[in-house]
């Protein structure tokens, strides 16, 4: 039986020379592997957060009434937290810039500043948690209404807090590694991606959890 040529043999034999031959490696997208890896991690992590936020929306819309307990003091506290986190992102930008210019001590300094922002955020947040717990908020009950309020609050903010805490450790490891010149500017940049992402998630949680549950005057 002869090989059927013509329309069926769609992949005709090419003369390799006049095809654009790609040189291999990361050329066509110019993205170093680590950076692409972090981007993909962020995509999947963002989806995990989305699923939790979806669950919150689903249950909140289904509930006959959802508590709006946050007084001005809570909102101010959360606003300060937002401000701290945003500032830490600015510090992160500066760290990335310093590292790409090869300024090792500058980069390390800004990385530590970023991590410090994360620590302050965590402290403010835990203080807030403790306050709410003192008021009787639990994952299974609270003084104001549907028990799902506490469940959603602790789950969403808790998941975010874990990310901030991991981020602090991660940034400090990068700072030490970069300070000892074991890590490159790309590593700093990649850690920056993570940090900005965690920051961005908060920009969703802040309005959804706090502002939508602010006490109406």
């Amino acid at each position: 039986m002869s090989h059927s040529s013509g329309p069926l043999s769609a992949t005709a034999v090419h003369d390799g020379r006049d095809l654009p031959v790609w040189g291999g490696g990361a050329l066509p997208y110019a993205v170093p592997s680590k950076k692409l890896g972090m981007w993909l991690f962020i995509v999947s992590d963002a989806i995990t957060f989305s699923a939790v936020i979806f669950a919150y929306g689903y249950l909140r819309l289904a509930a006959p009434a959802w508590p709006r307990p946050f007084e001005t003091a809570s909102i101010v506290n959360a606003t300060v937290m937002t401000f701290v986190l945003l500032s830490s992102s600015v510090a992160m930008v500066l760290a990335v810039r310093a590292s790409s210019l090869g300024k090792v001590s500058g980069a390390v300094g800004w990385l530590v500043a970023t991590a410090l922002g994360g620590v302050i955020f965590d402290i403010l947040h835990i203080r807030e948690w403790l306050g709410l717990i003192a008021e009787g908020v639990r994952p299974f009950s609270n003084p104001w209404g549907t028990p799902m309020f506490g469940a959603a609050f602790f789950t969403m903010t808790g998941l975010h807090m874990i990310h901030v805490t991991i981020g602090v450790v991660y940034l400090l490891i990068i700072a030490v590694g970069f300070g000892r010149r074991k890590l490159s500017a790309v590593d700093v940049e990649v850690s920056g991606l993570y940090w900005h992402f965690v920051d961005l998630v908060w920009m969703f949680i802040f309005p959804l959890v706090y502002l939508l549950s602010a006490k109406m005057a």
Binding site: V13, G37, A51, F54, A55, T146, M148, S184
Partner: protein, 591 residues
């Protein structure tokens, strides 16, 4: 940013200690085999469990040796209780869907062959790769552990629907510790799969060798890439769902639990949640998951059909396009698993339409496979037989899907054996045929020896006829109304159909026994098989340019350069009918 060289070269040296070489190895080839053997272990346990449930279905009072020891409460004296039937069914389904169909086709063969096929020395993140495997291994341990804890594995099935799965041990056996272990196992599995998916995508994008453009990649690589994207986007949701389930069970939250639940006479202290929320999250993952299981098979089948037909794949670009559109559409159809959940008929309609549309690319791909084979100079190797068998079982199972996709029909069919027949054909059997085709195809490369083809043919024919005997009748008893997930049918209207069940059980035991031919072939050939040449199938892709088995860094320090598409068969050049991808360019071939 300083201009730094891209991280293409991994200069690691071969490890020497046993632990580094075979246990905590970062070599993608070793990790691929580890995943493969993890799947073999799981498929073996899963198969034994399926025998037990099939036996119980038709002989509910039979004493099964050893079962009483494994679970004195679930099977007192070796006689399985109805609850224990459900427990074992849960482990069967979870093992098969997650630890077999999601590991071997993607992480097993993908890990082994993807880097070599694209001309890379290893995956982009070898250490992460090792981590993925060991996390998956822990997940398997957690699942297997459910068999040994006090009241056994959960009775809630592989889909773990709440309220049953969320209320705790009051609701029945296995819903305490067993269900917790299940949730932990699946959450860990998600992590392992996510890390693996990330690694696959980065590797495919960044580490292709010179000349290996995307459109020159073997279709296997396309399939692994698309599967990895599906995993990345869907396991993230299942992970969240497992976390919420775990909180419901252990922190007192009520994400999946409504108010006023009375369980075995006890009012549950939960309110405000919705069991439907789990169904949405689960099936948002669950439908893409079925394609995660089957798309690597699509890749392998396209590949082996071309090799053994000595013809280029028909419509390479169309297949790539179809795989991409199947991948995309698979995120839009999850509601077809929920037609009976009380959704509005308009939503049912909305989910029905994309479900039917998905059959279009699936049909195109199937026709292109037939077109690839048509007019070829066929070589009926075992791998080829399983490739052809794949088309058969996939189309048969897919036809059942078209019935289920109609909400009006599904209202009747949803809770019946029709669904069981459908998904076993189209997902279970088809994906496993893909794995068999891959095993018979790549074994020579992986182990440096040939599998026995005679045993392979016997294995193929018994399996092929066997799976039709097991799963076709399920469609018909389903149409008759036989419900799924019942442990036995005694003294009820289903009695006249029991002989069909007996037939299916005997077929299952026979087909299962035939798998020992495969296991024997596998382990015997590993040590005693004929030595494999570098390129036993006269195939064109890069893995066949290196020794069998390949050296630690795959290409022995050389950097392959690719000048040809992946499927240059049916030509005449230097007395051969194919052109290796790495052959030097220039000399026009006469065909």
């Amino acid at each position: 940013m300083e201009s730094m060289p891209m991280e293409v070269q991994h200069h690691h040296t071969a490890p020497t200690s046993f632990i580094r070489k075979y246990v905590f190895s970062v070599d993608h080839k070793v990790i691929g085999k580890q995943y493969y053997f993890l799947a073999i272990f799981s498929v073996f346990v899963g198969m034994v469990l399926s025998w037990l449930v099939r036996i119980h279905l038709v002989w509910p009072n039979i004493h099964i040796w050893g079962l009483g020891v494994l679970s004195p409460t679930g099977a007192p004296g070796g006689v399985m209780s109805p609850d224990y039937y459900l427990s074992l069914l849960t482990v069967h389904g979870t093992l098969m869907v997650f630890f077999v169909l999601t590991t071997a086709p993607q992480a097993g063969f993908g890990n082994y062959a993807l880097p070599i096929q694209i001309g890379a020395e290893d995956m982009a993140f070898p250490v992460l790769n090792m981590l993925s495997f060991w996390v998956t291994f822990l997940a398997l341990c957690a699942l297997v552990a459910t068999l040994f804890v006090k009241d056994g594995p959960p009775i809630s099935g592989w889909t773990a629907y709440p309220p049953l799965s969320a209320v705790g041990s009051d609701a029945g056996p296995g819903l305490g510790m067993g269900q917790n272990l299940w949730a932990v196992s699946i959450a860990l599995f998600c992590v392992g799969s996510l890390l693996g998916a990330l690694n696959f995508i980065v590797t495919t994008v960044d580490l292709r060798c010179k000349g290996m453009t995307l459109m020159r990649m073997p279709l296997t690589c396309w399939a692994w890439l698309i599967t990895a994207i599906l995993s990345l986007l869907s396991f993230a949701v299942l992970f969240a769902a497992c976390v919420l389930l775990f909180l419901d069970r252990n922190a007192g939250t009520s994400f999946f639990l409504p108010a006023g639940l009375l369980v075995n006479g006890k009012l549950q202290n939960h309110s405000g949640g919705s069991p439907l929320l789990w169904q949405h999250l689960f099936w948002f993952f669950g439908h893409p998951e079925v394609y995660i299981a089957i798309v690597p098979g699509f890749g392998v089948i396209s590949h082996v059909l071309s090799v053994f037909s000595r013809k280029p794949v028909l419509g390479y670009k169309v297949i790539v396009g179809c795989l991409l559109s199947i991948g995309f559409l698979s995120f839009t159809v999850w509601g077809h698993h929920m037609f009976l959940s009380g959704m509005s008929p308009y939503s049912g309609f909305l989910f029905s339409i994309p479900t039917l549309i998905i059959t279009i690319p699936a049909t195109i791909v199937s026709l292109l496979w037939l077109g690839t084979v048509y007019g070829g100079r066929l070589r009926f190797t075992t791998s080829m037989m399983f490739g052809l068998g794949f088309i058969s079982v996939f189309v048969t199972g897919g036809l059942g899907g078209m019935f289920l996709a109609q909400p009006s029909l599904d209202i009747f069919l949803h809770g019946t054996y029709f669904v069981v027949g459908h998904f076993h054909m189209v997902m279970g059997v088809a994906a496993i045929f893909g794995m068999f085709a891959g095993t018979y195809f790549w074994f020579p490369k992986m182990f440096g020896r040939m599998l026995n083809e005679k045993l392979g043919k016997v294995h193929f024919w018994i399996t092929f006829v066997g799976v039709y005997c097991i799963f076709m009748p399920m469609h018909f008893i389903g149409l008759e109304g036989m419900p799924r997930r019942y442990s036995s049918f005694v003294n009820d209207a289903m009695q006249p159909l029991m002989p069909v069940h007996t037939f299916m059980t005997i077929a299952a035991l026979t087909t299962g026994a035939a798998q020992f031919i495969f296991f024997f072939n596998l382990f015997w050939s590993m040590y005693k098989g004929a030595k494999a040449p570098d390129n036993p199938w006269e195939s064109t892709t890069l893995e066949w340019t290196v020794p069998s088995p390949p050296p630690f860094d795959n290409f022995g320090g050389k950097h392959p350069v690719v000048s040809y598409d992946a499927y240059e068969y049916g030509v005449t050049r230097n007395g051969k009918d194919y052109i290796m991808q790495t052959d030097p360019p220039g000399q026009p071939a006469s065909s």
